[in-house]
């Protein structure tokens, strides 16, 4: 900011002339801290550190920061404060930027009316169970495919990866029927956590990520453990798992966040209002709630994922790029 405004002793016309030729003209002025040009990008570092370059740079920076804040933070601000306003205040024109008085009644009402405690508890159970089951199932599968190399291992892997080709939405109806009446066992899993947990574990992408990581673990390490008499399970637990913590972190976060955010699948398999996940519960009651109570429930429902994001930002970003560069 200050770079734009403080231009002492400088003729007004110079900023429009091409910079570079006037280096000698101002020897007494302390050079400003240059904009860091350590990484070369499309913009030339020389142009960036000319006066005009700096002005443009700071204008662009301010515009970007302001517009990003307006686009992505302001709606959240509006949501958090909207929940504190009364219905009359919400309907008033022009709107109030700050609530007239900060009251948490909206939040308390939302908690009671929508029974958010139960909904959040349900969702935590679904996400936590899916996390444990996915780790147990997918890690052991990837370990078997990568290190134990059974007969037909390649076929099994190909079949698992083929599920990545089928978008989940298009098989949701037959999958729903399977959950409703599991073949051979004739269990009805609707309204049980298993309806979320078991399909979550059938995740070809997790198997792929884990197998690719396990493939990079040197064989000698496992052979050394084998010579020491460790069983395959012991090797998995004491050798492979500790080395694989980064990828286990990525898979864990992907699983938990996916279950927490999922909408369509829980909508189908958890019709009972006692068993709903938080997204479904709020959506199903949304039309019957006063606006401020509904908005308050939205805030409460988003707190857990935002907290997870704050805590595990690095892992989440790593998972994102892992997802984009899969092959």
């Amino acid at each position: 900011m200050s770079n734009v405004t403080v231009m002492p002793g400088r003729p007004a016309g110079t900023s429009s002339t091409p910079a570079g030729g006037d280096h000698r003209g101002r020897p007494r002025r302390r050079p400003r801290k240059p904009i860091n040009t350590q990484f070369r990008t499309a913009v030339s570092p020389h142009q960036l550190n000319t006066t005009r370059g700096r002005i443009v740079y700071w204008i662009v920076l301010v515009v970007v920061v302001v517009s990003f804040t307006a686009a992505f933070v302001f709606p959240l601000y509006w949501m958090i404060t909207g929940a504190m306003k009364s219905t009359e205040e919400l309907n008033s024109i022009p709107p109030t930027f700050l609530p007239e008085h900060f009251s948490f009644d909206g939040y308390l009402q939302a908690w009671d009316l929508l029974d958010l405690g139960t909904l959040l508890g349900n969702t935590a159970v679904y996400a936590g169970g899916a996390w444990l089951l996915t780790l147990a199932v997918d890690v052991s599968a990837a370990y078997a495919l990568s290190k134990l190399r059974p007969a037909f291992g390649k076929v099994v892997l190909a079949l698992m990866l083929s599920t990545l080709m089928i978008p989940p939405m298009v098989i949701m109806l037959p999958a729903y029927l399977t959950v409703k009446d599991v073949p051979f066992f004739h269990w009805n899993l609707l309204n049980t956590p298993w309806a979320i947990w078991l399909p979550a574990a059938a995740n070809g992408f997790n198997v792929f990520l884990l197998k690719r990581f396990f493939d990079s673990i040197p064989r000698e390490l496992l052979e050394a453990a084998e010579i020491d008499g460790a069983s395959p399970l012991r090797i998995l637990w004491s050798v492979v798992m500790p080395i694989s913590r980064p990828i286990l972190g990525v898979v864990s976060i992907l699983t938990v966040v996916n279950v927490w955010r999922d909408f369509v699948w829980p909508l189908l398999v958890l019709p009972d209002s006692e068993k709903m996940s938080v997204s479904i519960g709020i959506a199903s009651l949304s039309s019957q709630m006063p606006q401020n109570v509904l908005v308050a429930s939205l805030v409460i429902a988003s707190i857990p994922t935002i907290v997870v994001f704050f805590l595990f930002q690095r892992h989440i970003m790593a998972g994102l790029t892992a997802g984009s560069l899969k092959g």
Partner: protein
């Protein structure tokens, strides 16, 4: 194999069974580790994939044994007055979502990559909506879109523009869905592009500059070719993802007004759960599956050929 079996000595004979036993043991252990995944995949991925096809050609009511009905389900679906709008809307939604959700993140990523300040903040902020549960984002925008007291019309009123009907008008309903979708999804695209941009070697830009290429020429001839692969992969992924649009029409418009926002997956859901015709829903799903598998196949081909 053959060389090992030629010397039939006592030692070799003793080793054969142990090797076989070890092979069997290794396989038994391996499949022991695999069985959990095999069960989960078999029941919840592989079997539904097959059943999707079977059910499309059957009539089932889950009391009588299923009847094979040939293409009757497909005829039912195609003759539905909502069939045409559903595909047109899905295609239109995909195209509009690509215009917003594909171009905007890439341009944003290029700009972000030039900035030297506030990078962590900007990256965090752009990804924030991605972390909200989609239902939360969609219901939040439902409030913003309210023609009487929604934020958007309040802002328009503030700058003395007439308010819009947003979700209630056939002309703006679909674009309203695209705006929500872009808002809540663009963070991931932006960060993926940003990661790709940071891998471009700086020598390329320097060389281009020495050759006299200006800023836009450098973007055109260095940045875009260097990120071509990721751009293509993201394009295909995004097509597949946006063609499955469901939550936006389900929560915001219910397919209305006048079928202006009904999507293929939404129609599929309606067949199964509102019209009580699960088989017709399956037939529609099979059509979508075939369309999407083309894109998925291209995607897998592209990413396999170029990354590993």
């Amino acid at each position: 194999m053959t060389t090992a079996s030629i010397p039939v000595t006592s030692g070799g004979r003793r080793r054969e069974p142990t090797r076989l036993r070890r092979l069997v043991q290794r396989n038994v252990t391996a499949y022991g580790f695999l069985c959990g995944a095999l069960i989960c995949f078999a029941f919840f991925s592989w079997y539904p994939m097959i059943r999707e096809v079977i059910l499309s050609f059957q009539k089932t009511n889950f009391v009588d044994p299923p009847k094979w009905v040939g293409l009757a389900n497909f005829r039912t679906v195609v003759n539905d007055p909502a069939f045409g709008p559903a595909w047109v809307n899905t295609a239109l939604f995909t195209v509009l979502a690509l215009l917003c959700g594909y171009g905007v993140p890439f341009v944003t990523a290029i700009v972000l990559n030039e900035l030297r300040h506030a990078r962590a903040y900007l990256r965090f902020v752009v990804y924030l909506p991605v972390m909200l549960p989609p239902a939360v984002s969609v219901l939040l925008f439902q409030w913003f879109y309210n023609p009487d007291y929604g934020l958007f019309n309040q802002i328009l009123g503030f700058v003395h523009l007439p308010g819009l009907q947003w979700l209630n008008s056939t002309s703006t309903a679909l674009i309203s869905l695209v705006i929500v979708s872009t808002w809540m999804n663009m963070g991931s695209g932006t960060l993926i592009y940003l990661a790709a941009l940071q891998t471009i070697p700086s020598e390329l830009y320097e060389a281009a500059e020495l050759d006299g290429a200006g800023l836009f020429k450098r973007i055109r001839h260095v940045t875009i070719p260097q990120t071509r692969l990721i751009l293509l992969v993201m394009l295909l992924l995004q097509i597949v993802a946006t063609m499955q649009v469901f939550i936006e029409p389900y929560l915001l418009t219910g397919g209305g007004p006048e079928n202006a926002t009904v999507s293929v997956v939404y129609l599929m859901y309606q067949y199964a759960f509102n019209f009580g015709n699960l088989n017709a829903g399956n037939a529609l799903g099979l059509m979508l599956m075939i369309v999407l598998m083309v894109f998925s196949a291209i995607y897998l081909r592209v990413s396999r050929d170029n990354t590993v």
